[in-house]
Symmetry: C2
């Protein structure tokens, strides 16, 4: 962490005006524009001097000599950390949001809704990780015979996560056999899925061999159960609007990154540790694809424990004052919706 440079009030004010204008207009801002735009009783020459200092401090840069100046990544960082004045959400909108996240769904669907909601509101790309399930507790396990050799396995985990799988068995199992097997497995209800799996595996040879095929099927299901980390993206297309038109390549590689997931997951994972809203400026990491983009995240939690991250990704030139409150609030709404389970 580089320590905050000492900047006097006037310089801060000018920096703020400049960045706000740049975010609004998207073009380099000159000294003249700053004096004109707002009621500063300063000459453009003075502003020029200040801008020059700000450039020396690494907060601004100019694309070329005769253009105005634009913020550097450090400039954005300082702006966000020290200069930003938020635009809070209206009560009304807040209620609208809450209505959209219907808690009567499983957690994956809920998370997808949140991603969609936040994308639509901010006109950016929504990004929400699936909730990390620390414990996978077996709640229920049932066999439903479908046909001679086909059995539907129903697995209820934790509160409301239901999984089905159809087992294709090498021989026919009678209804009573299935009931016996279910009864046998009932002893594991309330236990951790992983433990269940291991104990089943250990007991595989000691139980009646006739059941082995069925048990092996169950173990297979348990094995593929621990859903790997993942996230739901919504509104990728919004990125088209912000792209400064020339850098199609950049857009492409960002889209690829969404597909790859690996890199983004790592970053999101990192945000899970943080407490509140977290702002990740693409330029701050070495990560090339994220250059010129910003990621705003907030963790959401179940039972007081953070289990996932919700956020948006968009051009570094986004209206932070509006986006940040939205991310913040949506994370809270998502948390409360998940807690109603």
């Amino acid at each position: 962490m580089s320590k905050q440079p000492a900047i006097n009030d006037r310089a801060q004010q000018i920096l703020k005006i400049l960045i706000e204008r740049y975010i609004r207009e998207g073009e380099p801002v000159g000294s003249r524009a700053i004096v004109d735009g707002c009621g500063l009783s300063l000459s453009s020459a003075t502003v020029r001097n200040v801008m020059s200092e700000l450039e020396d401090l690494g907060l601004l840069k100019s694309p070329h000599t005769s253009a105005g100046r634009i913020p550097t990544t450090r400039g954005y960082r300082f702006f966000i950390d020290s200069l930003l004045t938020m635009t809070p959400l209206s009560e009304e909108k807040l209620k609208d949001f809450a209505k959209e996240l219907d808690p009567v769904q499983d957690s994956k669907a809920l998370v997808a809704s949140a991603s969609q909601l936040i994308s639509r509101i901010t006109h950016l790309t929504g990004l929400v990780t699936l909730p990390r399930q620390e414990k996978l507790i077996l709640r229920q396990l049932e066999f439903l015979p479908l046909s001679q050799r086909r059995v539907l396995v129903i697995l209820v985990v934790n509160e409301r996560e239901v999984q089905n799988r159809i087992l294709e068995l090498p021989r026919e199992f009678s209804r009573t056999e299935l009931q016996m097997a279910a009864h046998y497995l009932n002893r594991y209800i309330g236990k951790d899925l992983y433990k269940v799996r291991n104990e089943l595996l250990a007991g595989l040879k000691t139980t009646k061999e006739k059941m082995d095929d069925l048990m092996q099927g169950v173990i297979d299901i348990l094995d593929t159960q621990p859903q790997e980390k993942d996230y739901v993206v919504c509104g990728q297309n919004n990125l088209f609007n912000q792209t400064e038109d020339h850098d199609v390549k950049k857009l492409h590689s960002l889209f690829e990154a969404f597909n790859e997931k690996r890199d983004l997951l790592q970053i999101l994972e990192h945000c899970l540790q943080a407490d509140g809203v977290q702002i990740f400026l693409g330029g701050e990491s070495g990560c090339d694809v994220l250059n010129d983009y910003s990621l705003i995240t907030a963790p959401y939690s179940v039972g007081g424990k953070p289990v996932g991250v919700l956020g948006v990704i968009g051009s570094a030139r986004m209206p932070y004052d509006q986006v940040i409150p939205v991310v913040d609030v949506t994370a809270k709404i998502l948390s409360s919706a998940l807690n109603q389970n």
Copy 2:
């Protein structure tokens, strides 16, 4: 249908060479290039005359006076219908494909695999509609109590489509009550879902009122059951590679079209009627977004009846000779995988 223009063999040969080269290189082809490229014992002047005729017939056009010529939509159409020589798949690859479509999944997962497979092979965008389920036959309906007021409803439809829903009930239902309800509903097994729904609705007031809440829940589930038409897209990002770089707008609107789904579904629906591989040239419809793109589709079937469409979408400049066999074969593999249910 405009009737096929009369073109002599030489002209056809030249047209073929030209289009093949244009597909390969992506740049307007001149008379010189055609003579040089392949062992035609003709002068460029002769070729020029022929090209001029082909232009008069509306099969070619030139971007400007001093560029070569490129195919028009009609040119592509003639090429595909009359001049194309397919490159069949090797046995080996064919087997690889078949392996990838594991029939032990529900139909939605299978269709998604097919979309992914075809996208990866062709480097285009895969597009597969979900199988249309003409009949939705109730195979099984079970209630699983989760907690006091929460009941998991398990619905098995047709061969292997399983749906779960958690019902949040206004009062507690005992285990025996649930069993009674299940028993009551068992009479509907083997019937069409829609009929079940209507009969349940009709009987709602005549049965014991105590059951009404539960039955209402089941009806709700049945109501939302008929999955609306939908498709699975894979490899949208491949479109980035083909875009002739300048038309970002076009790419954007195409991506939007994928999201909207409506228009594309209509086109795909139309392809379901056709018998084998169907080629849809974007320029042939009025549809603006699809201009300069081609859609190659083939229907797939269950029990001899076509139930869905599989295809790829990509630049009109795609290697049809390779893509068409792949689409054809994949549709057949998907059909056979679905029929193993």
